[in-house]
């Protein structure tokens, strides 16, 4: 029926009652497939990704842009694995397991690609607040220095035009260095630390918040996380849920409190304490993980493994509890 033809409010017309109970759809979990990973056989339900299948065997594949609560975007390519017979490597986070697949998670080819990905990232992005990446750089023997000394920060990265760029002389390695964006009282955006994993964009968009305040703008090496027209956050759609901060793996998005403590040189992890509690505001009962330094609250997160939040909070839980500081 054309909705334009409805003349009375829809709630007066109840839907017709189903006369037959619909049949239960077939359980996809009933279909299983068997494959081989690193020489070991594993049987998993159809639809399982290689990453999940490998974790069943206790194999650890590094990830960066993947998160359990987000749709795999497979942008970082750190999780690539070798599938026998395939021309290229496959992203374990997104590739569904297939029957009879033979997968290597740590072959020489795999390790080389991971090493290069780490080198490319570390040579262009400040990673000193990304402990997991620093650990991987050690593990894979990555040497970001091989691209040469870092170039001086370029100005106005936000104004770059797609398809056009200044061609350098190759003496230095271009980076994404740029000033921190401090435009509101709740959190800061330090895109010199951004690896463009898309997690914040996904969390702001269809994977959590449906606010769509940020996007990826520009393209190629000039691609960047941005609001419309690079507008300050208070002029855009941001609702300050802070779910982007929760998923950021490199410290590019941090609480203003943390940023200021770091700027003042008084950020002291050894004096910090994390406590799980329940949000005091509404009846949902979200789990809050509260970080305190010197008896002052510095940040609020929520563990992604907690069912009630999946790591997400609203502005009140995230930023509304600073009253405890008195």
């Amino acid at each position: 029926m054309n909705p334009d033809e409805i003349n009375e409010p829809i709630w007066k017309v109840p839907p017709p009652r189903a006369s037959v109970m619909p049949a239960r759809p077939p359980d996809p979990a009933c279909q299983t497939i068997t494959l081989q990973i690193d020489g070991r056989t594993v049987t998993v339900p159809a639809g399982t990704t290689l990453l999940q299948a490998a974790s069943r065997l206790g194999l650890r594949i590094p990830t960066l842009c993947w998160a359990p609560t987000l749709t795999p975007i497979n942008a970082c390519r750190i999780c690539v694995v070798e599938v026998e017979g395939a021309r290229t490597l496959a992203p374990a986070c997104a590739r569904p397991a297939e029957a009879g697949m033979v997968v290597q998670t740590g072959s020489e080819r795999v390790r080389l690609s991971r090493k290069l990905v780490l080198e490319l990232l570390a040579s262009s992005v400040a990673l000193d607040r990304a402990p997991e990446l620093l650990r991987l750089i050690q593990e894979y023997g990555a040497d970001p220095e091989r691209f040469g000394p870092s170039a001086a920060p370029a100005d106005r990265r936000d104004a770059r035009h797609a398809g056009h760029h200044h061609v350098g002389d190759g003496a230095t390695a271009e980076t994404v260095a740029q000033p921190v964006k401090v435009d509101n009282s709740l959190y800061v955006r330090d895109y010199a630390r951004c690896v463009l994993c898309y997690k914040c964009v996904e969390a702001c968009g269809t994977d959590a918040q449906h606010t769509f305040a940020i996007t990826i703008a520009g393209r190629g090496f000039d691609a960047r996380v941005s609001t419309e027209w690079d507008a300050p956050l208070p002029e855009g759609a941001c609702v300050y849920c802070g779910n982007c901060i929760n998923v950021c793996p490199t410290g590019a998005l941090v609480f203003r409190t943390e940023h200021e403590l770091r700027e003042a040189g008084s950020w002291a992890p050894e004096r910090q304490q994390e406590t799980d509690t329940i949000c005091p505001f509404c009846g949902v009962g979200c789990t809050l993980r509260v970080k305190v330094q010197d008896d002052k609250l510095v940040s609020v997160t929520s563990p992604p493994e907690v069912d009630v939040t999946g790591g997400n909070l609203c502005v009140k839980g995230r930023f509304g509890t600073s009253y405890v500081n008195g």
Partner: protein
């Protein structure tokens, strides 16, 4: 989703431009909004056409204009800005309404640089906001007529013209609104075989008025479609499989197998995308076909759609091809009015709608999944495969993607039969093939030759290499540099593979001894740095690092370790990039640098 649009109101011109495309805004009564649970469902896929409408009318995308599009299409402003800033032909800052895009890519390298210098002197620096300005451009697909230029003049209506053998005089005439596209009489300079007997793909090119439907019908156009309708979809697919036709876009996938997969896909509806985003530097074959025989493209689409159960097909054509877009649009209009397309294919078949969508300056959108994203109104970022387009493609439905040249082969196969098609060439390389020959040859142009000819024979047909031969680029910027040792290689998929090269889009670009190989290689590195979408790390940062590496070499100051770096970087890009762009970006650079000996002294 609540839209928060903080933009200033659009100007009247902007509002009119958008409303002309989308229709006047509907007035929705409050009660209706409540009943529907929100605003009307919108057409996100109209985002690119709407942004084109703005750019065409006022010459750039303003905050007000973009805000109005967001309001009309219910697209979040940040999202729309991400799209607007992705495409090179759009400007998100005020810029002169008349712009000449000058190709400075590999085939136009020298002439393009000279033009840029002259334009700089006449109009000032690139991208100014005055009356007229200029911009550098990647390959415009007019390599046989180097140097090339593409002029856009915003207004109502917009004026767009792309032309070769560009001079300041021609550019100024184009600024004044004078169409500079080649006439049919002049075509024989660029398609030297025009009018020769026995041409299978170029038979009508230059011989018939390209949009005269009667002339084309009289020459056998749509006879292949008639036969297809009479033998049925399954038999058509058998013919295509039997012909051995492989994709002519560069990947050379067996066409019949793709068609079978789409036809068998249970999800509905099925879509077809004709990939006319030809942007591989050195490639211009699809442009010539679309400009001079648009009905052959439409017939190919119609047969493919019939064989795979498609009722809505899209032609995604690059924005720098205004003449091809105009001719195809006119051909669709005439063929629909004649009852060949539309409600019933050729009067008796199933329905078929063909929509033309214009790209906006992004090489990556020639990658099939990036092409879907672009048609859907998004940034042209490739998707992960699998799932493959034959199962999950445009709008998430099974989709057939074929290149223009591939589709133009289809009517031929239907007319002449699979056996006669397969009798030419062999293996995975059957049938006639178009070669884009440019650079230092006697007669650069588009040539149709049977699969199996050698490189030497192609060069001979194109007038030889009167100024000597230093190197050849096979397959475009994503291809391979070869030298004289390759002259007796048959230009087939198998033959080129044997010498470690690839046929790609059948580019044969010739460089003589006056060329500057390192400058050409650097331009290729710049091309990929500019065209990478930026989604995956190996390509986003890798193309930047490759460019830096070549720049060091060009300065004569490579570092110790650069050789190993290039090898490892190349392997990681090939192995770990999402799509073909990143996977092949290092190929030409690698092969080009390897040919350059001796190595300059290393910097300490």
């Amino acid at each position: 989703m609540d839209l928060k649009i903080h933009a200033p109101p659009p100007t009247t011109a902007e509002r009119t431009a958008v409303d002309e495309l989308l229709g006047p805004p509907a007035v929705v009564a409050h009660a209706d909004r409540v009943r529907r649970g929100g605003p009307q469902v919108t057409r996100r896929d109209l985002l690119l056409p709407a942004l084109h409408a703005l750019q065409d009318r006022v010459g750039f995308l303003s905050e007000g204009g973009l805000g109005y599009v967001c309001e009309r299409l219910r697209v979040p402003p940040a999202d729309a800005f991400g799209v607007a800033s992705f495409y090179a032909l759009w400007s998100t800052v005020p810029i002169a309404p008349t712009v000449v895009h000058v190709c400075d890519d590999i085939a136009c390298r020298r002439g393009g640089e000279a033009l840029v210098t002259e334009l700089g002197a006449a109009l000032g620096p690139s991208g100014t906001n005055g009356g007229q300005t200029w911009k550098r451009s990647p390959c415009l697909g007019l390599c046989e007529q180097a140097p090339a230029a593409y002029v856009t003049r915003a207004g109502s209506p917009v004026f767009r013209t792309a032309f070769g053998n560009a001079t300041i005089t021609k550019i100024q005439a184009a600024f004044g609104g004078e169409d500079q596209s080649p006439s049919r009489e002049g075509l024989s300079h660029f398609v030297p075989q025009t009018g020769s007997p026995g041409l299978k793909l170029l038979g009508r090119v230059g011989r018939l008025d390209p949009v005269d439907l009667d002339a084309h019908l009289g020459d056998g156009a749509f006879a292949g479609l008639q036969r297809a309708l009479s033998i049925g979809p399954a038999a058509v697919r058998t013919e295509i499989s039997g012909s051995g036709l492989t994709g002519r876009g560069g990947a050379a996938f067996p066409t019949g197998r793709k068609w079978d997969a789409v036809a068998a896909a249970p999800a509905q509806p099925h879509y077809l995308c004709c990939n006319a985003d030809e942007s591989e530097p050195g490639t211009f074959k699809d442009r010539v076909l679309m400009e001079w025989d648009p009905y052959a493209v439409l017939e190919g689409i119609a047969i493919a759609a019939f064989a795979t159960g498609v009722e809505h097909a899209f032609i995604y054509i690059r924005g720098e091809y205004p003449l091809a877009e105009a001719r195809l649009t006119e051909a669709i209009r005439r063929a629909t009015a004649r009852g060949l397309l539309g409600a019933r294919l050729a009067g008796s078949g199933p329905p078929l709608t063909i929509s033309v969508r214009r790209g906006a300056g992004a090489y990556i959108c020639g990658e099939e999944t990036a092409l879907f994203e672009s048609i859907e109104g998004k940034r042209g970022e490739p998707r992960s495969k699998p799932p493959f387009p034959v199962h999950v493609g445009l709008f998430g439905k099974p989709t057939l993607v074929n290149n223009v040249e591939t589709l133009v082969n289809v009517p031929l196969i239907l007319r002449e039969g699979a056996a006669s098609f397969a009798a030419v060439g062999g293996g995975a390389s059957t049938g006639p093939k178009l070669f884009c020959v440019s650079g230092a040859v006697g007669r650069p142009g588009l040539y149709e030759l049977p699969f199996g000819v050698t490189l030497r024979e192609v060069l001979a047909v194109a007038g030889g290499t009167p100024r000597g031969l230093r190197s050849l680029l096979l397959g475009g910027a994503a291809g391979t540099f070869v030298g004289e040792e390759a002259l007796d290689t048959p230009l087939t998929l198998e033959g080129t593979r044997k010498i470690g090269a690839s046929l790609g889009s059948a580019v044969v670009m010739v460089f003589d001894h006056t060329s500057e190989p390192l400058d050409v290689i650097r331009r290729i590195a710049q091309f990929f740095r500019d065209e990478s979408c930026g989604k995956c790390v190996p390509c986003r940062v890798g193309t930047q690092r490759l460019e830096e590496l070549v720049a060091r070499r060009l300065r004569g100051q490579p570092r110790e370790g650069d050789e190993l770096l290039r090898e490892e970087l190349g392997q990681a890009m090939r192995d770990a990039s999402i799509c073909g762009l990143g996977q092949t970006a290092h190929l030409a650079i690698d092969s080009g640098l390897r040919r350059l000996n001796p190595l300059p002294e290393l910097a300490k």
